[in-house]
């Protein structure tokens, strides 16, 4: 018996002597950062994760913030539903804002998801130069990270015209909040990143479809110059895209947009957000947020073609405004490709026929799960940017052919405008109908200085005829609607609570 006790004590002591090993228990079913960021595959996986927040950003969020918050789409309230201010306030231009801070939840989502891209890109950029991985991969991955960071900062700059400037990975609580950068500082960083990305990224034909390319980086940088009215710089970049031979317009406008499982990353596509239909959780659902409710399964299936349609009630009704519908010229093929109509038997409105956004309505297999991509830049926008940059430099004859390329594809005659002012207006008009519901409208109004005049007039029309703007009988235009027409959103309150810098 004594022996066994001595044995057990000896055993215990030996266990004690190696207790540091005994106490080191690392997770078996997760990787830790200590062992990651070593191999080529690690960096590719890391940059892949930086694309992921784009899915959340464009799965209706960007549409709410830049199309519904404009004169293109209305939020149609279902009066039986509450908790709607986050959406209805965007449509009604009464987003509650005080001291440059807003509580709007959609604004918060846009802010957080863009900074998630930035943080993941920063993680790659901080480590990739020192990594021993093949040079081609290094350049490609670094270029993608720079492009994605530039794209996210562009969104931040356009929504807020200011924002924290995070350029290195955060390692602890002390470094979590960065100082607010001004719009100017943000744009300087975007120009720096995009310029570097252009030099690193391959052309579209040499890149895996769906990833960032040198053409996408050029277009993004040109977009910044358009905002900054550096027309000549924009022209140079845009011409490089046009002459690259990598892009052309799809003959049929409707084919410029992807189907659920096909027609993705076409030759017209410069950059688009990639979704995948199926159960992996990589799908989009935005189409379902663009339909009028309540809609029966039988009505819904005519749009979605799914095998298991479910009736929908609730919220999320983003409906084309009559203003937009009227903006299409007679004979414009894009009208039918962009806007459809549907009659809802159960609608709470007297007029039960509603227009809906048809641009992305492509058949798919299962309810509320689709793989249509969301366009960020299409070649037609490159052409319209270029036309605009030339017009602003008064190179009017150079400009018209680019504008007309877009019009021709839409089945329209060449523009009749000849003066700089008329051509400018023609490009603005063309952008509105060509790029409708591609999250461009608000940014265009702000960039061209037309926001206040356009939205004020629009607001007056809404108030004058609420039924025309889809208010149900029992609904009413809030008394404070169209009282806050500002070019930028307030920074999100939930983040203001946490950051000492705003």
């Amino acid at each position: 018996m004594k022996k066994s006790i001595i044995f057990s004590i000896a055993l215990s002591l030996s266990a004690f002597s190696c207790s540091e090993d005994f106490l080191t228990v690392t997770p078996e079913t997760a990787l830790s950062s200590v062992t990651f960021f070593k191999t080529e595959s690690d960096f590719i996986q890391a940059v892949n994760s930086a694309y992921v927040p784009l899915r959340a950003l464009h799965n209706i969020n960007s549409h709410l913030l830049s199309e519904q918050h404009s004169d293109n789409a209305r939020y149609v309230r279902n009066i039986l539903f509450g908790a709607t201010e986050n959406q209805s306030n965007l449509a009604d231009f009464n987003v509650p804002t005080a001291n440059g801070i807003t509580t709007n939840g959609n604004v918060l989502t846009a802010y957080r998801q863009n900074y998630l891209i930035i943080a993941r890109a920063n993680q790659v950029l901080a480590l990739i130069d020192a990594a021993s991985i093949p040079d081609a991969t290094k350049r490609n991955v670094k270029g993608q990270a720079l492009f994605l960071r530039a794209l996210a900062y562009l969104e931040i700059a356009r929504y807020f015209n200011r924002g924290p400037l995070q350029l290195t990975p955060v390692g602890g609580r002390a470094e979590a909040a960065a100082a607010l950068g001004t719009g100017e500082q943000l744009y300087a960083q975007i120009i720096k990143d995009a310029t570097e990305a252009i030099g690193l990224l391959p052309a579209k034909s040499a890149q895996e479809a769906g990833r960032a390319t040198s053409g996408a980086a050029r277009t993004l940088l040109a977009n910044v110059y358009m905002i900054q009215k550096k027309w000549a710089d924009a022209e140079t970049l845009l011409r490089a895209v046009v002459t690259s031979g990598e892009y052309s317009l799809m003959p049929n406008y409707a084919d410029a947009f992807s189907n659920s499982t096909s027609n993705k990353n076409t030759r017209e596509s410069v950059f688009e957000v990639q979704y995948l239909e199926g159960s992996q959780g990589l799908n989009g659902t935005f189409l379902y947020s663009m339909l009028p409710f309540p809609i029966s399964a039988a009505e819904l299936v005519t749009i979605t073609g799914t095998t298991n349609p479910q009736p929908l009630s609730g919220e999320g009704n983003n409906i084309p405004t009559p203003d937009l519908i009227e903006a299409y010229e007679t004979g414009d093929k894009r009208k039918d490709a962009t806007i459809g109509t549907i009659t809802l038997g159960g609608a709470l409105h007297v007029n039960k026929t509603f227009p809906y956004i048809k641009k992305y309505a492509r058949p798919h297999a299962l309810h509320n799960n689709h793989g249509m991509n969301w366009p960020i830049y299409r070649y037609s926008e490159v052409l319209l940017f270029l036309a605009e940059a030339l017009i602003e430099q008064n190179k009017l004859t150079d400009a018209a052919p680019f504008l007309n390329q877009v019009r021709t594809r839409a089945g329209l005659a060449n523009t009749t405008a000849t003066t700089q002012t008329a051509l400018r207006d023609a490009v603005y008009q063309e952008r509105r109908v060509e790029l409708a519901f591609e999250s461009k409208r608000l940014h265009d109004l702000v960039r061209t200085g037309r926001l206040e005049s356009v939205i004020k007039a629009y607001g007056d029309r809404v108030k004058a005829n609420k039924a025309r703007y889809y208010f149900p009988d029992a609904g009413f235009v809030p008394s404070d609607a169209f009282t806050l027409i500002t070019p930028y959103y307030g920074l999100p309150a939930a983040e203001a609570d946490l950051s000492p810098n705003f």
Partner: protein, 1028 residues
């Protein structure tokens, strides 16, 4: 009464006699004899000592002893659990002694951490409950039996789900993100889970350790308090066989249920809704009286009267060096919600063998099988059947014209019906949500006493758990609202394998000389735990009868996972107890814990404690206060930790399922999703306890009081950080919460006259907390309807103060409004910040603190009345001043009428001429107007949940006549959850609160939320105990 007075005298004499006796002891002679218990069985191991000397021996297996003693000497016979006896030797050479079982509480031995102590000498705040005291309460879980019994311990039954939902908080402990459940130690083995499944009949007694001096030997796991459970042993020299059985019936009383509209009332509401909106009334509601006699009470439809049975056979024996106890139990409970069921088959075999006088070995083994099926009864509108049932329009038929259960119900959208309501009776009947659990808890030990006073003990403990979970949602039913049935059938299978072991090596040395008594404990322990889990989710079945994995068309990757959780703990511990004459008591202890959970820079924590006691009643000057039979002052101070911080929280983890898509291809993605903190450690609690124990009139009245104050610092706090960083939070040890409180227990034996005995035990506790600090730059964190703010109590309800509705235009004009959304008849809120505008969040926020989920005080009262063979007992438990957040009011008072409504909504504002009670607002205006009332969290959601519940009433009769069948038998009848006195209107269970970790309702920062959980039934039982 006489013998007790005599005992008291002799005790006082004991102080003066040793000297006299020493002088008198001159001649020595051999004395021998036999010690027996009152039942005539021999008692081995009884201490036989010559009074006033160190000479002594103990009785052998047959109860006999031999000792040298002078004729002037007195022999003292003492044995744990028995009243000591003194016999003067005189001329006798044979002295046979019969010892009687000691009922005197102060000589009771109390199980404390890593040992036991005579109750009189305990210096910490420890409360013990003997299983005997709570044996009649006909429930499955030990925690249910303890409700109302323990001062300073709040035990709430948060759900009536069979076998689930007991929430135990010692001294109001809570944590920002760690767990707050006490540590459960079964026969010395700190187990990883809770004790919900443990068969209460296996338990001998329970010690609840509350202050740091009692708990600090459990180091980094002790801050939430420790519950020590000792299972049944054989009693010296006795063999007992008993069989206990009860059977009962459970029902949810109609009274106290949340009041919803019936079909006629609901149709009337809808009619008025359209009339008030000046719209045509849909045909379905034009004539509400058509629904008379056609009410569909969906809640009642999923309830039933349900049986419960329990059988326990217990055998204990302690003879010939072998002590054994065997407990076999079967518990079988059908739930009061249809198709719910809980079954437990439990065995326990404890045996101990005295190999020699110096060596003892023992083995306890307790295998168990538990079956549980509860088809998603609890939870909010997403998934909870009960929550959904009250929301369903009572005009919707449960059964169709042919008497078949409907699949789901939907009215035309012209009636404002926007949700499809599945049939909840089907959901309860057809959903499978079952857990099968097999576990084994075992302890093996060897104890060796090489020399007198020294014991070396080595233990090896193992806990095994294998759990299988199976969920199946057939195509014909669902628990999710707004779903048209049939649905896509889904199955989920989970398997869990847990393996934990603990090795403890302890040395105890006791030494007494000249009235100085020492005990030194030293130990070294290692514990490790590993859990492996996997989950497979599959869907789309061609046939509901075959819910196999292969029968599914699709394996849902998002619902499939495997996971390993592991931790290790190495500890050194030591305790020194010293007392002088059992009168001046001191204890110091220390534990050092090394834990795999702590960051690499902070791996070891030290947890010391000190305590002292003074038995004032043993002092000479107390002689004159003969009404005070016992008095002890106690004080303790110590440090404990909480290591419920997750196993891998210190690491920066990579999530490698952040996948991207390119074209139609999935591209694997990986991102850092949490920040590393190599300094991460335990939460530290420093606790001071001051208390006293008083006995009056020969301990007929016993009062215990404790004051405590504790500061929990280094809170494990997932500090929210700006998400511009790419992260949501940083796990840090930061912040401080202060707790303090008072606890009183009063045990009285009011009557003890012959056949009539009456005792009343009562306790009351006051627990308070205040947040002293959070992180720098952060003075508040929000829960779902809550705020935790520096300078205030934890987890307070937060939102807008409601102040009726705007009664007329003048009211609207003269008060602040929500721009664009306030009208005559809508909810009127208080402009707390006085800026003239009502604002929800942001920089002009009008939200404020609305209430407190924590009680002002909790209390319990137990009374036992015996007359002859009759016994009668009542147990009550109460809580005062606590409030609940009535979560379902968000929808049950939704003025848009999309759900069934709380009956009070009948009395809403309809017009200036017909303002109702002016409490609920107008239905006119749709979501713009009604939305504020619902979506802006406000004080209407807060309800007083004070209660006093008669937990149990039992009436019993004992047949003591020995006969051929049994030695004794007792029959009893009892009612559990007999009566609930409360003003709470949000549901039938004021003890409820959602329980879950993380951010949701019931998460750490969101306590006290009523999610309309499974009701706690009233159970009527009859039972019989046989002793053979």
């Amino acid at each position: 009464m006489q013998p007790k007075l005599f005992l008291l005298r002799s005790k006082m004499w004991a102080v003066f006699t040793p000297l006299l006796l020493l002088l008198a002891s001159l001649t020595f002679a051999q004395v021998s004899g036999k010690v027996t218990g009152s039942d005539g069985d021999a008692l081995p191991g009884v201490n036989v000592a010559v009074k006033g000397t160190t000479r002594g021996t103990s009785t052998g297996a047959d109860g006999s002893y031999k000792i040298e003693a002078p004729s002037t000497a007195t022999l003292v016979f003492s044995f744990v659990g028995y009243t000591a006896k003194e016999v003067a030797v005189g001329n006798q050479s044979t002295i046979d002694v019969t010892l009687s079982v000691d009922n005197k509480i102060l000589n009771e031995v109390v199980v404390v951490g890593y040992g036991s102590q005579v109750k009189k000498e305990v210096t910490g705040a420890v409360q013990t409950i003997s299983a005997k005291e709570i044996k009649d309460i006909p429930v499955s879980q030990i925690a249910q039996k303890l409700q109302g019994q323990v001062a300073g311990v709040q035990i709430n039954q948060t759900t009536g789900r069979p076998g689930q939902g007991m929430n135990v908080r010692i001294r109001g402990q809570l944590s920002v993100s760690g767990g707050s459940e006490p540590l459960y130690v079964v026969d010395g083995f700190p187990i990883t889970g809770n004790i919900g499944a443990l068969n209460p009949d296996e338990i001998e007694d329970i010690s609840i350790l509350k202050d740091a001096a009692s708990t600090s030997l459990y180091g980094s796991r002790a801050a939430n308090g420790v519950v020590l459970i000792t299972t049944k042993r054989g009693k010296s020299g006795q063999t007992n066989v008993s069989f206990n059985v009860f059977t009962g019936s459970q029902v949810v009383p109609k009274k106290g249920r949340f009041e919803m509209m019936d079909a006629v009332e609901f149709a009337q509401f809808k009619k008025e809704y359209y009339e008030d909106a000046k719209q045509p009334v849909p045909i379905e509601f034009q004539n509400p009286s058509q629904y008379e006699g056609k009410n569909n009470d969906w809640y009642d439809a999923v309830l039933r009267r349900a049986p419960v049975q329990s059988y326990n056979l217990t055998l204990t024996s302690n003879k010939d060096r072998v002590s054994t106890s065997l407990v076999a139990g079967v518990f079988n409970q059908e739930g009061v919600v249809i198709n719910t069921k809980y079954q437990r088959y439990a065995l326990r075999l404890n045996s101990e063998y005295k190999v020699s006088d110096k060596v003892t070995i023992g083995l306890n083994i307790a295998p168990q099988y538990v079956f549980d099926n509860t088809p998603r009864t609890d939870g909010d509108r997403g998934t909870g059947i009960l929550f959904n049932a009250i929301h369903t329009w009572p005009v919707m038929p449960i059964r169709d014209d042919k008497g078949e259960l409907t699949l789901f119900n939907r009215f035309p959208s012209s009636t404002g019906n926007i949700f499809a309501y599945p049939n909840w009776v089907r959901a309860a009947n057809e959903l499978v949500n079952e857990t099968k659990q097999t576990n084994i808890l075992s302890n093996a030990y060897i104890a060796y006493s090489p020399i007198k006073g020294l014991t070396l003990k080595s233990t090896f403990n193992v806990e095994l758990l294998n759990q299988k979970f199976f969920f199946f949602n057939p195509s014909t039913a669902t628990s999710a609202i707004n779903t048209a049935v049939p649905v896509t059938a889904v199955s989920i299978r989970e398997a869990t394998d847990n393996f934990g072991w603990l090795n403890e090596n302890l040395a105890t040395y006791t030494k007494s000389f000249n009235n100085h008594n020492f005990e030194l404990l030293a130990g070294y322990t290692n514990q490790s735990f590993r859990a492996e889990a996997s989950r497979i989710q599959a869907d789309t079945y061609s046939d509901d009868r075959l819910p196999t994995i292969q029968g599914a068309i699709n394996i849902a990757r998002g619902g499939t996972l495997s996971n390993v959780q592991e931790w290790a703990l190495t500890s050194l511990l030591s305790r020194l107890s010293y007392n002088y004459k059992g009168k001046y008591l001191f204890t110091a202890s220390i534990r050092r814990d090394g834990s795999s959970r702590f960051g690499s820079n902070n791996r070891w924590g030290t947890f010391p404690s000190l305590s002292a006691g003074w038995v004032v009643s043993d002092e000479a000057f107390m002689k004159n206060f003969d009404k005070i039979s016992f008095a002890k002052l106690r004080a303790s101070l110590g440090v404990t930790g909480n290591n419920n911080i997750g196993n891998y929280t210190q690491y920066a983890l990579i999530n490698n399922t952040v996948n991207a898509v390119f074209g139609n291809n999935v591209a694997p993605g990986a991102a850092v999703t949490s920040l590393a903190n190599p300094n991460l450690g335990w939460e530290t609690t420093r606790q001071l306890d001051i208390g006293f124990d008083l006995g009056f009139l020969n301990d007929r009245f016993q009062l215990t009081y404790d004051y405590y104050t504790k500061n929990t610092t280094n809170l494990l706090f997932a500090v929210q950080i700006p998400q511009e960083s790419g992260f949501t939070n940083f796990n840090d040890n930061i912040g401080e919460i202060k707790f303090w409180g008072h606890e009183f227990s009063l045990n009285t034996r009011i009557l003890d006259r012959g056949k009539l005995k009456w005792s009343v035990n009562s306790n009351i506790s006051f627990n308070r907390n205040r947040v002293v600090a959070l992180a720098d730059g952060i003075d508040r964190v929000y829960g779902l309807h809550h705020i935790t703010q520096v300078g205030r109590p934890f987890g307070q309800f937060y939102g807008h103060l409601a102040n009726g509705v705007y009664m007329n235009e003048a009211d609207l004009k003269s008060n602040p409004v929500v721009p664009g959304r306030s009208f005559v008849g809508t909810i009127k809120l208080v402009d707390v910040n006085g800026d003239g505008v009502l604002t929800n969040g942001g920089d002009r926020d009008d939200r404020t603190i609305l209430g407190n989920p924590f009680p002002d005080f909790t209390y319990g009262i137990t009374t036992n009345l015996n007359y002859g063979n009759f016994d009668f007992s009542v147990v009550g438990s109460g809580s005062q001043g606590n409030q609940l957040w009535v979560r379902h009011l968000y929808s049950t008072a939704n003025l848009d009428g999309v759900f069934n409504l709380h009956r009070e909504v009948k009395y809403r504002f309809r017009s200036e001429a017909n303002p109702g009670k002016g409490f609920y607002g107008t239905t006119v205006g749709g979501g713009t107007a009604t939305g504020i009332e619902r979506d802006w969290q406000n004080s209407r959601f807060v309800a007083d949940a004070s209660f006093f519940t008669i937990k149990n009433i039992t009436l019993g009769y004992t047949i003591n006549k020995k006969n051929k069948l049994f030695r004794s038998a007792r029959v009893y009848a009892s009612i559990q959850q007999a009566l609930v006195f409360t003003n709470y209107w949000g549901g039938s269970n004021p003890e409820t609160s959602a329980q879950q970790n993380g951010q949701g309702d019931g998460g750490n920062l969101s306590p006290g939320v009523d999610l309309f959980n499974y009701p706690v039934p009233r159970t009527s039982t009859i039972g019989v105990n046989f002793n053979f």
